[in-house]
Symmetry: D2
Subunit: 138 residues, 4 copies
């Protein structure tokens, strides 16, 4: 796990979008990755809440990196597709995206994920993802 | 259509995320909306291409505003869910998201969309969306 | 719960497709419904395993009826959309579809579900669903 | 195309489910396949319309076989995942599923599809699919 943690940290840092939206990588475990995003008016949709696209961006990464923890040596991962449900507006001080591997095959990994909106010590699930990620040789 | 065009333009301008990623609203027609995004390293994933999350953000908006052109008077729209397929890396100078209404009911609108990567005069479809949008009273 | 259990049992019995494929309603709880399907060559795809369409049929019902347990009085439910991932071929003696409500709003319910293939006492998850279900007045 | 047409016809005939629901393969072209299903009370949901699972079954096949027309020699196809939207109840005398390849890579093919309900000479689109299909060596 040490190597993969370092590899994910380096990859995350090289993503311009994560810096632009100020997202942080907060947990890397076997088959599970967490990414946090603070609220910012720079990420808003028309009502001032965080835009679905920003929420999707951190959850896509959380699922993709979770899949990477399960990829065979010498492989990297590419998101083939995902589906998002948005259950509540993204209202909160911070947002936590949790991506989890549900099944990892030689070729394809299926992940699920959720984004939680955090207000003080209270959190609510605001969005859910089901994603298919492909292993490709580096 | 005039009122809805103005309403969409105002809504688009009020989205912090669209300014942050420098996206432009380029076409509003009955049931169809186009949004353009220039390449920027600030939007990159780990290989320097545009991040799937930025691509999804403009297509989500294109589909949502396309749905709004068909919403009953006194209603606004909320994205309930979408599914994205990513067929090619987002390589190009500009990206054009095209959202189209496929079916609009009283309650739900189904849209499809695509994002085209533009390099000079050549474009390729890099991503596709199928989305469900809800009409909610303003 | 008694009324809703009876209502679901009657609805299930009135579905011609469930009789045709010999599916059984095996559990109705608050926010969770299980449906079982025995293997049959009448449901096969080209390799002799159970067809993805039959697997989807029982999981769509499990999610829909799970949503119905949470619908307001005087409402029924309609599946607006779902997404299925197929992780393994449907090989087994029996298949158990488990549908669960993840979020129920006034208008929309989001469910997730899985289908397990059972061989003796061993089971494996072969498919997963994320679905959006609409409450409509009866 | 001759070989692939024969191969698809043989595969279709070997599917127990297609016989059980009485579906017919009606068109095979490069990147496009049509499958027809007559109405039957044996396929109904609780209101007497055709069940979403039967509609999904024919469209899954139409997309899968469309993908097969584009697969490299020596490969067959497996549905990794699909997403369905249901826009109208499946009311009609016959139902036509149309699957089309949108993009075919070495590994993955993305298809879209629709199901039309036919009543006399009138048809309406009742459902739409976006699917990801994997090429696997035979």
């Amino acid at each position: 796990m040490y190597d993969i943690q370092e590899r994910i940290a380096i990859s995350f840092k090289s993503q311009g979008l994560m810096a632009t939206i100020d997202a942080q990588l907060v947990l890397i475990a076997e088959g599970e990755v967490h990414i946090e995003l603070p609220f910012s008016a720079h990420l808003s949709q028309q009502h001032g809440y965080v835009h679905a696209g920003a929420i999707t961006s951190i959850l896509d990464n959380a699922c993709g990196y979770a899949a990477l923890t399960k990829a065979p040596p010498g492989y990297e991962v590419v998101t083939a597709e995902f589906k998002m449900n948005f259950m509540r507006p993204a209202i909160g001080e911070r947002f936590l995206a949790i991506g989890k591997v549900q099944n990892s095959g030689k070729l394809l990994t299926v992940c699920t994920g959720e984004v939680r909106a955090l207000s003080g010590t209270i959190w609510k699930v605001i969005a859910m993802m089901q994603a298919t990620i492909v292993n490709v040789p580096v």
